[in-house]
Amino acid sequence: MAGRPRVAIWKFASCDGCQLTVLDCEDELLAIAGAVEIAYFPEASRTFGRGPYDISLVEGSITTPHDAERIHRIRRLSKVLIAIGACAASGGIQALRNRRDVAEFAAVVYAKPQYIETLAHSTAIADHVAVDFELRGCPISKAQLLAVITALLAGRAPAIPRHSVCLECKQRGLVCVLVAGGTACLGPITQAGCGAICPAFNRGCYACFGPAEAGNPASLIRRLRDLGVPDADILRALRTFNVNAEPFARAAQGLEGR
C-alpha cells in the first residue's frame, strides 16, 4: 500500500470489544497512528475523515434495515474490507434471535416495540458484501489484528491460519483438558487465533473463534456424549457466540434431529 493508508473503523451491532482491541494495543497504538491515518474512528476521535478508505475494519453484525444499506456504502468506500470479530464474521451472539420464531418473539413484545427497527436475523458482513479478510474471535486477538495491519502495510497476505485451537494449545505446551480431565472442549473444531486461552485456564474452549477449517463436529459430539455431556449442553455450546456459523449450525441441527 503506497503512502500512509487511510483506515476507517465501523460499528454495527456489537459490544465494542473488537474495536476496543485497537485501543488496547497500548505498546503499538502510537506506531499504528504513525503508520496509518486513522481517518474514521468515532470511538476515539471527533474527526470524521471522509472516504474513500484504504482499509475498513468492520465490527458487528447487520441487524437493521438501515445497517443493511450502510454496509454497502462502506464497501463502496473501502479498498480492503476486514470483518472483525464473531459478530461481523458470523452474526455474533445476537444471531441467537435467528432461531427464535417470530411468534415467540411477539409473545415477549416490549411496551412500545413500534419505536424499534430491527431485522428478524442478525447476519454476518459477508452475507451482504464481499469481505477481503476475516478476523475471528469474540473478541478478536490483538496479535492477529496487528498481524493483519502489518501484513497489509508490507503488502503480504496476512498469516491467519484456519486450523484448530489444538495446534496453539500444544504449541503452548498445555495439557489437553479433554483427554486429561474429561472436560468438554470445542478446541478441535474451533479456529485458532486466541492462543488457546481457555485450556490455559483449565477450561474447555467454548468456540468463540468460530469453526475451524476441516473440523469434524459430528465426531467431537460423539466423544462429548461419551464423556456424559448432555445433548442439551452440547447444543447450547454450539449455539452461543457463533450460532449462525454454518458448520456449527449444521452440527447442532444434526444433533437435534436424532
Binding site: 459490544c15 476521535s45 474527526t47 419505536y115 436475523h121 490483538k142 485456564f201 452461543t240
Partner: protein, 434 residues
C-alpha cells in the same frame, strides 16, 4: 424579530462506547427539547438468556459490553450465587475484587485520557493529543496496560475474560504469575496520583447540579462487589429491593431504556455518586489526592467527574497493589454452586455505575427470566437534565463551541451505549436481508 430557533445536532457522538446521537432544540433562547438518542441496534440479551443454563450467564452477558465485561460477569455470578444461597470464600472474593479493579484501571484510564481529556484540551481525539503531549499519552498507555495485563493474567484476556465462572474461577493464577504486578502497580499508582494533579488543572464550567446520587455502599471498603444500595436522599435498600425503588421507561427516539426512581425523578450513578457517598472509604492516598485536587467529600459538578475518576483510579491502583501483595491463590478456585429454583440478584459497581442483574431460575438451573439494568440507562435521564442546564448556561457560545460543550456533557458520563441497548425486546420486521 420572530421566533428564533437554534438546533444542535450531533449525528454521531464520538468517543463514547457505542452509537448515539444528540439533538437539542432552543426556541427563543430557552431549551425546548433535549434528546440523547441511542441508535445502537438492540441486541436482545434478556430474550435469549431465557432457556440458557445459569452457568452461562457470566460469559453471555459479558458480550453486552466489551468495555466492562468483568462488571457483567461479576453481577451475573453474584446473582446466580445468591439464587443458590452460596457465598464464596474470602480468597475468591479477593481475586474477584482484584480482577474488577484491573478493569477499573483500564476503563478509567481509557476514559480519562483517551475519551475525555481531549475535550478539555481541545483535541478531537487521543491520537491528535499524542502529537502535542507525547509523554502524557505514553504515560496513560503504560497505566492502561497495567490494568489490561492484570486482567489478562487473572482472566486470560483483557476483553471477555475466560476465567470467571459462577462460584469463582476456573484456575487460580499462581502467586508467581501475579507477583510481578506489584512493581508495576506501584508505578501505576504514581501515574494515577499524577493524573489527578493533571486533570485538576483543567478548566471546568462552573455548574453544580442537585443530583440524587445512588451507589453501592459497604461498611469496610469502597464498594464495588457488594453492599447495600444507598442514595444521597436517604435511600438505603438491599440489592434485591432495587426494582421496588427504580423503574425503566421507553422513549420513542432511543433504543435504550431510561431508568427513574419510582417517584419519577432522575438519579445519578457512577463515579460522582460513589465518591460522594463513600469518600471516607477511599484509601488514604486517594483521599489525599482528592483533597490536593481541591475536591471536597462531595462533588456535584459533572465536568469534574474526570477528577473523581482519577481519584478512583488512584484508589484502584492502591488497593490492587495491596491485594497483589497479599494474594493467596484460592484453593479450590471455585465453590460448588448447585442448580436451584429461585430468584437471584446481583449488583456491582461497573466503572460507570451500578449494574443490576436479576434472574429467575428453575430447579434445573435454567434461566426463566432475566433483567439487566446497566449504568448508562440509569444515567440517561440525568444526562438529558444536565444538557438542559448546560445549554441554558452556555447560550452565548457559538454553535460549534456549544456543540462541543454538549458532547462533552455527554462524555462526562463515559456513557456506554453498547450496554444501554442490550435488552429491548421488540417487534420484528419480517423482511430478511438478501
Amino acid at each position: 424579530m420572530g421566533t428564533t430557533r437554534r438546533t444542535i445536532k450531533v449525528d454521531t457522538l464520538a468517543r463514547v462506547e457505542g452509537e448515539g446521537a444528540l439533538y437539542v432544540r432552543v426556541t427563543d433562547g430557552a431549551v425546548a427539547e433535549v434528546r440523547l438518542k441511542i441508535y445502537e441496534p438492540p441486541r436482545f440479551f434478556e430474550a435469549f438468556l431465557r432457556g440458557r443454563r445459569f452457568t452461562e450467564a457470566p460469559d453471555i452477558t459479558a458480550r453486552i459490553c466489551g468495555i466492562c465485561p468483568v462488571a457483567y460477569q461479576m453481577s451475573a455470578c453474584q446473582a446466580m450465587e445468591s439464587a443458590a444461597g452460596v457465598t464464596v470464600d474470602a480468597r475468591i472474593r479477593a481475586l474477584r475484587r482484584l480482577l474488577y479493579l484491573a478493569e477499573w484501571i483500564e476503563s478509567h484510564t481509557l476514559h480519562i485520557y483517551m475519551l475525555h481529556a481531549p475535550d478539555f484540551l481541545g483535541f478531537p481525539g487521543v491520537v491528535e493529543m499524542a502529537g502535542a503531549h507525547p509523554e502524557t499519552v505514553t504515560r496513560a498507555l503504560r497505566l492502561k496496560k497495567v490494568g489490561n495485563d492484570l486482567m489478562a493474567a487473572i482472566g486470560g484476556r483483557e476483553i471477555h475474560p475466560v476465567n470467571v465462572r459462577v462460584g469463582g474461577f476456573y484456575r487460580a493464577p499462581g502467586r508467581d504469575e501475579l507477583a510481578p504486578f506489584a512493581a508495576r502497580l506501584r508505578e501505576a499508582r504514581e501515574i494515577a496520583v499524577e493524573t489527578v494533579r493533571w486533570v485538576a488543572g483543567f478548566e471546568f464550567p462552573a455548574i453544580e447540579r442537585d443530583y440524587e446520587f445512588v451507589a453501592l455502599t459497604h461498611p469496610d471498603e469502597y464498594a464495588i462487589l457488594e453492599g447495600r444500595l444507598a442514595g444521597s436522599r436517604g435511600l438505603d435498600i438491599a440489592v434485591r429491593e432495587y426494582e421496588q425503588e427504580f423503574t425503566e421507561e421507553q422513549r420513542p427516539y432511543s433504543n435504550a431504556l431510561h431508568s427513574r426512581r419510582r417517584s419519577g425523578e432522575s438519579y445519578l450513578v457512577g463515579p460522582l455518586a460513589r465518591y460522594s457517598l463513600n469518600f471516607d472509604r477511599l484509601t488514604p492516598l486517594a483521599q489525599d489526592a482528592a483533597r490536593r485536587a481541591g475536591l471536597g467529600p462531595v462533588c456535584r459538578n459533572p465536568f469534574r467527574s474526570i477528577i473523581v475518576r482519577a481519584v478512583e483510579l488512584t484508589h484502584a491502583c492502591d488497593e490492587a497493589l495491596t491485594l497483589v501483595q497479599g494474594y493467596a491463590p484460592p484453593d479450590p478456585p471455585a465453590v460448588d454452586v448447585p442448580a436451584r429454583a429461585g430468584t437471584g440478584w446481583g449488583c456491582t459497581e461497573a466503572p460507570r455505575g451500578i449494574l443490576y442483574h436479576r434472574y429467575h431460575l428453575d430447579a434445573a438451573g435454567t434461566i426463566l427470566a432475566a433483567k439487566i439494568v446497566p449504568p448508562t440507562s440509569q444515567n440517561q435521564a440525568t444526562i438529558e437534565d444536565d444538557l438542559r442546564d448546560v445549554v441554558g448556561a452556555s447560550l452565548d457560545l457559538p454553535d460549534d463551541r456549544l456543540t462541543w460543550r454538549c458532547e462533552q456533557t455527554v462524555r462526562n458520563y463515559d456513557p456506554c451505549i453498547s450496554c444501554a441497548t442490550h435488552f429491548l425486546t421488540v417487534r420484528v420486521d419480517r423482511e430478511r436481508p438478501a
